[in-house]
């Protein structure tokens, strides 16, 4: 088990390295002078010169990348060309809000999606199954920003029971997290359902029934743990979708997280912030997928033995 985790950890190193290369390239790929991109649009020629010296932009790319990595390791991400504050501070302030939003959404999506999926699978073709699968289809297809606006219109503008925008209380969290979780809930419901149906057809389910176990036990003990394996994999991907969705949801609900920061920074050409935000999001996604893979190994005993003893 520990071997498996160690191996999996080792595999993330090149990925994070690669992510760093990609983020490093962003500024250098944008047409124009990278020094100006880092310094900001209205920077003075002197300041641009300073930046060029600081990041050694006249030297070969590997040297520049070395500087970049060194800065990254120290959490030194440069300064925002818009607010003039350090990028790390800007991100540090907003990241917890995005994390809270994405996690709440993930929890909602998992609870709603997995339970709807189980019930749908066990009562295949029932009214419940049909209705929840219709909801799932719509949830997946609806653009998240539109959903956000519609919920805002309904609950904040018309019914006035929840705040439309901003942060502060738990009530501010309700609409953004539901919006964000909706698509994921739909996807998870569909995957849980089909995975459950697949597992229920397996021979070992017949074995379990032949033992005289009651149906609930067959479903919740024997089928569910097997059925959850693909669901957990999807959860990792969901987190990525949620981070992406956060960019849109935060924009609509004026939720001051890193998603909104990213969009604002792109529009303001505030590249140091763009760099920092992208790096953080990718890093986070890699970590989450690592956690998922480890969870996976706990669920499926076949996984972690494969590395050992050459079985």
């Amino acid at each position: 088990m520990y071997q498996y985790i160690a191996r999996r950890l080792l595999l993330t190193v090149p990925v994070i390295f690669g992510v760093a290369i990609l983020v490093f390239s962003i500024i250098r790929l944008i047409p124009g002078d990278p020094a100006r991109a880092i310094a900001g649009v209205q920077a003075s020629p002197e300041f641009i010169q300073q930046v060029r010296a600081r990041y050694r932009l006249d030297e070969p790319l590997p040297v520049q990348f070395g500087i970049f990595l060194g800065d990254l390791a120290r959490g030194e991400l440069g300064r925002s060309t818009f607010s003039r504050r350090p990028v790390a501070t800007e991100i540090g302030e907003r990241f917890p809000r995005t994390f809270l939003l994405a996690m709440t959404a993930l929890v909602i999506a998992t609870i709603v999606g997995v339970s709807a999926g189980i019930v749908s699978a066990t009562r295949r073709n029932s009214m419940f199954d049909n209705v929840s699968m219709l909801f799932a289809l719509v949830g997946v297809a609806a653009p998240v920003f539109w959903m956000a606006l519609m919920l805002q219109l309904l609950f904040a503008v018309n019914m006035r029971i929840l705040p439309a925008t901003g942060i502060g209380t738990w009530r501010h969290l309700v609409l953004p997290s539901i919006t964000l979780g909706m698509a994921s809930a739909g996807l998870m419901a569909r995957i849980t359902r089909s995975s459950m149906l697949e597992v229920l057809r397996q021979d070992f389910i017949t074995t379990a029934r032949a033992k005289g176990l009651n149906e609930r036990f067959v479903i919740y003990k024997h089928a569910l743990k097997n059925a959850l394996i693909p669901v957990v994999t999807v959860m990792g991907l969901q987190f990525g979708i949620l981070l992406g969705g956060a960019v849109l949801t935060e924009t609509v609900f004026a939720w001051p997280g890193i998603g909104r920061l990213l969009v604002d920074s792109i529009l303001r050409r505030d590249y140091p912030v763009v760099q920092g935000t992208v790096m953080l999001m990718a890093f986070l996604f890699v970590i989450i997928n690592l956690v998922v893979d480890i969870t996976y190994a706990f669920l499926d005993p076949r996984i972690h033995y494969q590395g050992e003893a050459g079985e």
């Binding site: 057809r201 397996q202 021979d203 070992f204 017949t206 074995t207 379990a208 029934r209 032949a210 033992k211 005289g212 176990l213 009651n214 149906e215 003990k221 024997h222 743990k225 097997n226 669920l299 499926d300 005993p301 076949r302 033995y305 079985e311």
Partner: protein, 340 residues
């Protein structure tokens, strides 16, 4: 009477996209206490369908038991409530399946799956249940049973898994064990070992067994009585001695003729010309007639009734009916007279 199980006119169909498939068509047989009854036939003849019907383990839909009785110690399993049927499953009647690789749940240890049945039916808990499980694993010849019990199925070979399945099935001292091709998926040597084990356990535990296989050599070794199935029907039944020495039905004769004499190698029964009919387009009359070298006019029109011989040796074939029954006289002449 020591009849443990009496199956009477069992009818079971699958409802598929292509239409209704009569998988089990009027099957009747008995199993006495401690007796081993073999059911033999080619793939798709309905033998597995019979075995799964007994404990009502067929997925419904598409499967549906449409008629007949399955009397186990006098109570009809077809009509039993789910709750009462569950009390019989795994306790009085246990099953072993064909695919040991997929019949065990991959995400739980062998012990977990064994103990679960023991706790359910034997009112044993904790240490006692675990000890019983270890005892069962030892009984089926699994070495280091006290360690192996905590292993996951994927660490086991096919033969070991099948032993574990047998241990699981026998853990609650069933009165009847249904073994559905328990050796088919295994290597030849392992097959022999598993058969040896089952024979040994049969002697020791006096459990009645319904042994399902397409392999006549296995039947010969294991069974007291044999049922030969074709296209959902029993075409011949009798004691293993009678059946092998004096096969009556052309299909049985074909099966015995095609049996490789040297070894127990799995052999598709290809020496009978043709193949099993498409269940959606069953030929009229006797379903075997398109492949039968003795086929007569009447075979195409009408399914023969059962002729009982000595020693409860029964056969359903017109070849044997014309000698004793007046019904079969009009071999070529009768057209539509018997069509109902």
């Amino acid at each position: 009477m020591s009849e443990l199980l009496q199956v009477r006119n069992l009818e079971m169909s699958y409802y598929t996209e292509g239409g209704r498939v009569r998988a089990v068509d009027g099957v009747s047989f008995d199993v006495e206490q401690g007796e081993v009854v073999g059911i033999v036939g080619e793939s798709g003849c309905g033998k597995t369908a019979v075995s799964l019907s007994i404990l009502r383990l067929l997925p419904s839909p598409p499967a549906k038991i449409e008629g007949g009785e399955i009397l186990f110690e006098g109570q009809d399993l077809v009509k039993l409530s789910g709750e009462r049927l569950r009390r019989i499953r795994g306790d009085d009647i246990a099953m072993i399946f064909q695919e040991p690789m997929t019949s065990l749940n991959p995400v739980y240890t062998i012990g977990n799956q064994l103990i679960e049945a023991i706790r359910l039916h034997q009112q044993l808990e904790g240490k006692a249940a675990r000890n019983r499980a270890i005892e069962m694993l030892k009984l089926v010849g699994i070495p280091r049973a006290d360690e192996v019990i905590d292993e996951y199925p994927h660490r086991f070979s096919g033969g070991m898994r099948q032993r574990a399945m047998i241990a699981m099935a026998l853990s609650c001292d069933p009165k009847l064990l249904i073994a559905d091709e328990p050796t088919t998926a295994l290597d030849v040597t392992i097959q022999a070992q598993i058969l040896e084990l089952m024979r040994e356990l049969k002697e020791r535990l006096h459990t009645a067994i319904i042994f399902i296989t397409h392999d006549l050599s296995v039947i010969a070794e294991m069974s007291d009585r044999v049922l030969v199935m074709y296209a959902g029907k029993i075409v011949e039944q009798g004691s293993v001695v009678d059946l092998f020495h004096d096969p009556q039905h052309p299909y049985t004769q074909g099966l015995i003729g095609s049996r490789p004499s040297m070894d127990v190698e799995r052999e598709r029964l290809e020496f009978i010309p043709g193949s099993v009919p498409n269940p959606l387009h069953m030929p009229g009359g006797c379903p075997f007639h398109p492949r039968c070298s003795h086929a007569m006019e009447i075979c195409r029109r009408e399914m023969p009734g059962e002729k009982q011989g000595e020693n409860e040796h029964g056969v359903r074939c017109w070849l044997h009916l014309d000698k004793s029954d007046d019904q079969a006289r009009p071999l070529r002449a009768a057209v539509g007279a018997a069509e109902e």
